[in-house]
Each structure stands twice: as C-alpha cells, then as structure tokens.
Amino acid sequence: MKNEIRTMRDVFIEGIYNRMHKDSTLFFISADFGSPKLDMLREEFKDRFINVGIAEQNLINISTGLALEGFTVYAYAIAPFLTMRAYEQIRVNLSLHAQLKEVNVNLIGVGAGLSYDVSGPTHHCLEDITIMRSLPNMTLFSPSDWKLTEKFVDYSIRMKKPKYLRLDGKPLPQIYDSIEDSEFQNGFKELVKGEKICLVSTGYMSHKALRVANLVNEHQIRVGVIDLFMLKPLNEELFSESISLYDYVITLEEAFINKGGLDSLVASVIDRKNAKVRLKRMGFEDAYVFDMGSREHLHKLNHLDEKSIIKNIEEWT
C-alpha cells in the first residue's frame, strides 16, 4: 500500500473520529473550517463537536476551558490564523498554564508553508515554526506524510500537553510504511543514509529532499536525508549524533529562514553539541510571496526548487 496519496488532516480527523466512539473525553472544535472527514464527525458527535465560528481567539479560549475540566481537545483552523490571530491566547492560556496544570489542547493547523499556494500571503504560513517553537511547554509536530500524522493520533491523547500540528493542506504521497514508537519519540528519521552531505527537512520539503537525493544519486553523489518531524521535543542527543557523521548539512523548510525556524533549531544543536558540521539554510528570505502560480513555481522563484538544492550540493562536492 505504499505511495498511497492522502491528506494529513483527513487521516488525523478519521483517527480522532474513531476514538471518539470509545473515548467520551474527546472534544473537537472548529473555527468554521471543514474537511470531508469532519462532516461525519460533526454529524455523529453533535454534543462534542462545536463550530465557534470565524473566531480563532475564542477557539483557543473555549478549548482551554474544556481542557482545564479534563477534556482532550482538538482545535481546528487554518494554520496562519490559528497560530497568529490567537497567539496570545495560545501563550497565556495554553503554554503558560501547561507549566502548572494539565491542558491537553491539540492545535490542528492546516496549510503549512505554501500549501495554499495561490491564495496569497495571508494564507501562506511561513512564520509558525519560529513563533510556536519559542513557546515553553509546547509540542511542535510537523509531519511529512499521512502515516506519521496517523501515528500522532494516539500520541495526542496520551501526552497531556498543548501541541501544535503543522499539517500540509495538499494530498501527499506516503513516505513511511510504519514507524516504531521509539523512533517517533526521537522526533526525526534518517530516511536515506548518505556520505558527507545531508539534507535535513521538515513537512512538504522532505518529499523534495527525497527526490533530490534520488536525482543526485544518478551522478554518484550520495546525500543523506533526515526528516525532522517533531521540532519540539526533539531527541537532540541522537539527532546530533546522526548529523555529526556528515560534513555538511542543508536545511530545507517552507518557512522563513534565519529567524528561529528549522534552520535555527539545527544550528543550535550543532552549536551546543560542538559538532563539526557546516550548515546551509534553504527556505524563504525575509519577504512575503505575492507571486501567483503553483507551489513548485513559487519554489523556483524563491530558490527552493530541486535545481537550486542540487546547486548547493554540488558546491560542496
């Protein structure tokens, strides 16, 4: 069944829907945002599904209240609005409270990076990794395929902390057949073992990293690929060991670079572990993207296409 193409949000919602039958403590709240799979959930669980309307601040506040009373809550909205409209609600009511109390609110943000390519910069989400990473007591999950997303369903119930799920909006092919619990807890997986150069990517960019690794392999260049899906908490010790086997690391993210995203996370690990690894950061420079066109077209314009990545690899070979 490998290479089945599915949308992360539908897989996740289906998982929650299945568990809601047995677990009466699960509550699902949407800020007027849907999905085909959500229709059956809201039809069947009228008492535990609520649409708060286009009101992201209230989405977080209502979720907090429910969670303080012991419910496991899923708060569902478009990623940039979920994280940025309601950032202070997330900070004060989730992140801050979670240091003293149990608050299991799972923020399901759909539309990571340029998922909503043609909807323009209001719907692009290039800041969320940076801002969500900076919150204490917050988990940050950025899966690359639906299989990992499915794995997060039980994790979200078990780990009673606030979490942010950065889900891609587009249907994407499967990368993982399965993943062990221990591997999942590590927060990353080395998908391809390489020599000298390693691509460290998250979310959608891991698909591209795999394609690039295949392409350069034809020219006898063996680059590694590490999919970093749990940006917080990450098993930094193990991650550091993995990247230390390489001379060069290139980070790939659909996010702004040089300001606290995946690149900064990798840089700080290299720094703190004194790893002798050189780093190149690839992502979006300090500007919004107003151009129209497909995701790939926008990548090309912003030097995040396969050719640009290969060029960076060749500079180091």
Binding site: N61, S63, A67, L68
Partner: protein
Amino acid sequence: MNPNSDLFEYLKQKASWVRKETLKIHKIAQETRIASSLSAVEIFVTLYYGKIINFKPTDLRWENRDRLIISKGHGAISFYPMLADLGYFDKEELGRVGQEGSFLGCIPDCIIPGFETTNGALGHGLGVACGISLALKRKGRGEKVFVILGDGELFEGSIWEAVMFAGEHRLDNLIVIIDHNKVCMLDYCRNVIDLGPLDDKFRVFRWKVETVDGHDVYALYNALVMLRGDKEDKPRVLIAHTIKGKGIPRLETDPLSHVKSLKAEEIDAILAELK
C-alpha cells in the same frame, strides 16, 4: 432578607477589613493596581463571605467547587487578604507580596491557591469560562462558573466572541459580574469608546441582565442569589456600578487612578482614619 440583618453587617465589616488589608499590601507592593482592586471589594466579599460561591480552601481541585475566573487580573489584589482569611494560604504571606520568594505577585497568577487561571492579560477570562461552563454542562454537573470582568476590558474583541458564544450555547451556569467602575487606564471609558447602553448590548446577545450598586452588599447579595437560582436558560450578567478607587477620595475623582499609587505616609493616614 432584612437589609439590617447580621449577615449584611458582617459583609460590611469584612469589606472594610479587606479594604484596609489591600491598602497595606499596596504599601509594600507599589506596583499593585490599587484603584482597580478597591472597586471590586464588595463583589469579592459578597461572593465568598456571603457564601454565594461553593468553595473548599483545603481541596483546591474539589469537584463541587464553583469556578471563579477573575478576568480583570490587576484588580484582584483585594482578593489576597480574603484568600488568606479563608484559609487558602498563611496570612503572613500578605506581608511579602511582590517580594523575593513570594508566590503573590502584583498581578495574580494561577500559582496562587484559589486562582483557577492566570489573567494578567485582559480579555481571556470570559472565553475560558465559557469552555469551563460547556465542560460542566456536558458532564451534567451543577457547579456554576463566575467571572469578574472589568469594563475597560470590554474593549477587547475576544470578549465579544465569547459573549456571542455564551448566548448561542445558552450557558445558563455562567454568571458574569462586570466591575463597572467606568475608568480604564488613561481616561474614563466613555471618553475612549462609550460602552453604553451596556445592558442592551448583552441583552441582544441573549443574556439575562441585572444591574446593581456594586458597593451595596445587600443589593449585590440579593442580585447574586437571584441570578444563581434563576431557571432561565441564558448566561447571566450582573452589571455592578462601582467607583474606581472606592474609599480613597483622591482616587475616586481621578480618571488616571489606574496608574496612581499611594505613598506610604498617605496609606498610614488613611488607615488611621479608617480605624
């Protein structure tokens, strides 16, 4: 109930004591918002000493407790002496507010026994309370959720998201008290954005509305008993008309009272007079 009955004399005495203790706290912790805290004294006193609220200081997670969310965090310093008096923590702690090692900040956090949530940032309390109300209703429980809102806080958009939500979902276990002291930080509220008619605003969002003199413990008590017992399937709001800086003439007439502190000598003089 007779307005001259022992209960109301008792509540008045408690209010007077709380006011003095709050001033003593302000003397050692000048960053506390004294004017804002003084307008809410009778509201807190009536809720707790009037036994409107079910609470248990020895068991903070007691299932049957009513939930109190103090959304106007800054104005809750007058709640500290009451919490100590009721047994939530040692009275000696009142002498250490804002000092090294104390858990009592100049703006309260939920690290303090008796506080359910952290509300230093305004506009969050009502939405969180709506979530708690909803949770209690879904579990079929009978506890009430009380919320203290400031009127300056009503400028926050998130408040109105929650007001709409509570009306729509008929959160009849929710009782909001607005400490309507009419002053925000820089001016009288009416000079910023006129909030009136406040009662109508809530009414059109399907709330039950009552209005009361927020310094009259008899009126407060009766209104709260009525709202608590009412069977209408609506959220309730009690608009309590109060005076910011109540009891301190210099603050009562000052539109900038929120940011004013009283000097130690001034507090000593006031305390001497109150005795």
